[in-house]
C-alpha cells in the first residue's frame, strides 16, 4: 500500500513541515497587512497633497513590480550594501519574506479599502450629522459595516491569491511546501528523482484555498442581510 510506505511517510512529514511554514507566512501576512493597509489607504486619501502623492507613488511602485523582485531585493541588498543583516538561516529568510509580503499585500489592500470607503454614499455621513452624531459615531455605527460589506468580495480574491503567492518565498530558499516537494527531485533524506511530491503539494493548496473560500463565502453570506 503506497500510503503506508516508508517513502510516502517521509515525504508527507517533510511536506507537512513545509506547509506549516506556508501557513505561518499566510497568517502573518494577513495579520500585518490588514491593519497596515488601512493606514496606507488613509495616507492615499489624505487632504495633505504631498503625503497623498508620496503614498500613491509607493503603492504604484509596489503594485507595479513583481513580488519576487521585492523579496530578492529585500533579502539580499541590505547585506550586500552593509545596511543591516537579517538573522541567519531560516529565521532570517522568514523575517525578510514576511516583511516583503506584509508590505506588498498592504498596498493591494489599501486600494481595496479606499474603494470601499469612497464607495459609501456621502448621504450616509450627512444623515448621521443631521441626527447629531459625532464623526466617530458615524464611522463606527454607520460607515464601517457598509465598507466591510463592499470590500469582502475583492478581499477574498486577494486572500486566495495570497494562498498561492506564499510559494514565491521559495525564491530565497525558504523551506515552504514547494521547496520541500522540489527537494525530493534533487535529493533529500535518501530520496531523489521523485516527481510526485512536487505535484502532491497541489493537494495542500487546493484544500487550503478550499477552506479559505468557504470561510470567506460564509462571511459574505452573513453580510447579505442588508443592501
Amino acid at each position: 500500500m503506497f500510503f503506508t510506505s516508508q517513502e510516502f511517510q517521509t515525504v508527507a512529514a517533510a511536506l507537512n513541515s513545509g506547509f506549516l511554514k506556508t501557513l505561518q507566512l499566510f497568517f502573518i501576512t494577513l495579520v500585518g497587512a490588514i491593519p497596515l493597509g488601512l493606514v496606507i489607504s488613509f495616507g492615499s486619501m489624505s487632504r495633505f497633497a504631498p503625503l497623498r502623492w508620496l503614498t500613491r507613488t509607493v503603492v504604484w511602485v509596489i503594485r507595479g513590480t513583481p513580488l519576487v523582485l521585492q523579496i530578492i531585493a529585500l533579502f539580499y541588498v541590505p547585506g550586500m550594501k552593509d545596511l543591516f543583516t537579517w538573522p541567519s538561516g531560516e529565521t532570517g529568510r522568514m523575517t525578510a519574506v514576511c516583511v516583503a509580503f506584509v508590505f506588498n499585500y498592504a498596498c493591494y489592500f489599501s486600494e481595496i479599502y479606499r474603494g470601499g470607503i469612497q464607495g459609501v454614499p456621502v448621504g450616509q455621513q450627512e444623515a448621521g450629522l443631521v441626527l447629531g452624531m459625532t464623526k466617530s459615531q458615524i464611522f463606527f455605527k454607520v460607515t464601517l459595516l457598509q465598507m466591510v460589506k463592499r470590500i469582502v468580495p475583492p478581499m477574498s480574491n486577494e486572500i486566495i491569491t495570497l494562498v498561492k503567492d506564499t510559494s514565491l518565498a521559495r525564491v530565497i530558499a525558504l523551506q515552504e511546501v514547494i521547496w520541500m516537494g522540489e527537494s525530493f527531485m534533487k535529493g533529500n533524506q535518501g530520496y531523489s528523482g521523485l516527481v510526485w511530491p512536487l505535484f502532491f503539494t497541489a493537494v495542500y493548496y487546493l484544500v487550503f484555498s478550499g477552506v479559505v473560500t468557504v470561510l470567506l463565502g460564509r462571511l459574505e453570506k452573513k453580510l447579505e442581510f442588508f443592501r
Binding site: G123, V130, K141, K149, R227
Partner: protein
C-alpha cells in the same frame, strides 16, 4: 411667535453665487414651502439650516437664540454645531436610511447614542433604552408602519422608506423639520402616502420647511410660500395667494409650467 429667523444669508461655491441675501422668518406651528426650478438654491438653503453648508454671510436664529452668525466664528465651533443641528430635522430626497439597520433601529439609533451622554445613563440604561424603543415604535405607528418595524430598508418600498426617514427625523424632536423634495425620488403612485403623512404633521402644527415641486400640495398644506430663482427670493407670502395670484412675472412663468398638471 417667530421660531425661525433667517437674515441675509449668502453662499458661494467658488465664484458662483448660489444664495444671495436670503431673509425670511417662520412662525411656530407653521409650514413653509420653498418652490422654484432646479438650481435655484432651494436645497442649498436647507443645507445651510442644517449646518451641512456654511453660509458666507448672514445669521440664523431659532427661538431668538443666535445659532449661526457668519461674522462670529464662535458660533461655528464643530462641537457646538453638533448640538445646534438638533434644532433642525432633515428628510432627504433619497431617504439616506442606514441600510444595515431595521426601520426601528434607524429611528432609535441617534437617540440611543445621544442618551449615552446623559449623566444617569449608566444607572437607568434599561429604562432609557426601553423608553426610546417605545417612542420609536409609536412614531412608526404614526407613520402607518408598525408592521414594518423589523424590516430592513431594502425590504421596504420607496414611500415606506421615506416615512421611516420622517420618523427618524421626528425622533430627535426637532424644533423645525426640513424636507428636501421628499417625493422627487418616488414613483408617482407612492408620492401620495408620503404627502399624506406630511399633511398630517401640518395638521398637528409641526413647524416645517418643505422644498417641493408639488404645487397643489404646497398651496393646500403650507401656510407660507417662498419662490426662489437664481439664488434669490423673488416672492414670498401666504401660500394660496402666491400660488394662485403671483405678483411677480418670474413666479407667474414658473407656475405656468405646472398649470397643466
Amino acid at each position: 411667535m417667530v421660531i425661525l429667523d433667517v437674515q441675509n444669508i449668502e453662499k458661494h461655491f467658488g465664484a458662483t453665487k448660489v444664495l444671495e441675501d436670503i431673509s425670511f422668518s417662520l412662525e411656530e406651528g407653521q409650514a413653509l414651502a420653498i418652490i422654484g426650478s432646479s438650481g435655484s438654491g432651494k436645497t442649498t438653503l436647507l443645507r445651510c439650516l442644517n449646518f451641512l453648508e456654511t453660509p458666507d454671510r448672514g445669521r440664523i436664529l431659532v427661538n431668538g437664540e443666535k445659532l449661526f452668525d457668519a461674522a462670529d466664528p464662535a458660533t461655528q465651533r464643530e462641537s457646538e454645531v453638533r448640538k445646534k443641528r438638533l434644532h433642525f430635522g432633515m428628510v432627504f430626497q433619497s431617504f439616506h436610511l442606514f441600510p444595515q439597520y431595521t426601520a426601528l433601529q434607524n429611528v432609535t439609533l441617534a437617540k440611543e447614542l445621544l442618551s449615552q451622554e446623559r449623566p444617569d445613563f449608566k444607572a437607568n440604561k434599561k429604562v432609557i433604552l426601553e423608553e426610546i424603543r417605545a417612542e420609536g415604535l409609536s412614531l412608526l405607528d404614526q407613520m402607518g408602519l408598525s408592521e414594518r418595524a423589523g424590516h430592513y430598508p431594502h425590504q421596504l418600498s420607496g414611500g415606506q422608506q421615506q416615512r421611516v426617514a420622517i420618523a427618524r427625523a421626528l425622533a430627535m424632536r426637532p424644533d423645525i423639520l426640513c424636507f428636501d423634495e421628499p417625493t422627487s425620488a418616488l414613483d408617482p403612485e407612492l408620492t401620495g402616502e408620503v404627502l399624506r403623512v406630511i399633511r398630517g404633521l401640518a395638521e398637528q402644527k409641526t413647524t416645517m420647511v418643505i422644498v417641493t415641486h408639488e404645487m397643489a400640495f404646497a398651496r393646500d398644506v403650507a401656510d407660507q410660500v417662498i419662490f426662489m430663482d437664481s439664488g434669490v427670493i423673488v416672492e414670498q407670502g401666504p401660500a394660496r395667494a402666491v400660488i394662485e395670484h403671483p405678483r411677480e412675472e418670474r413666479t407667474r412663468q414658473f407656475l405656468a409650467r405646472y398649470a397643466g398638471q
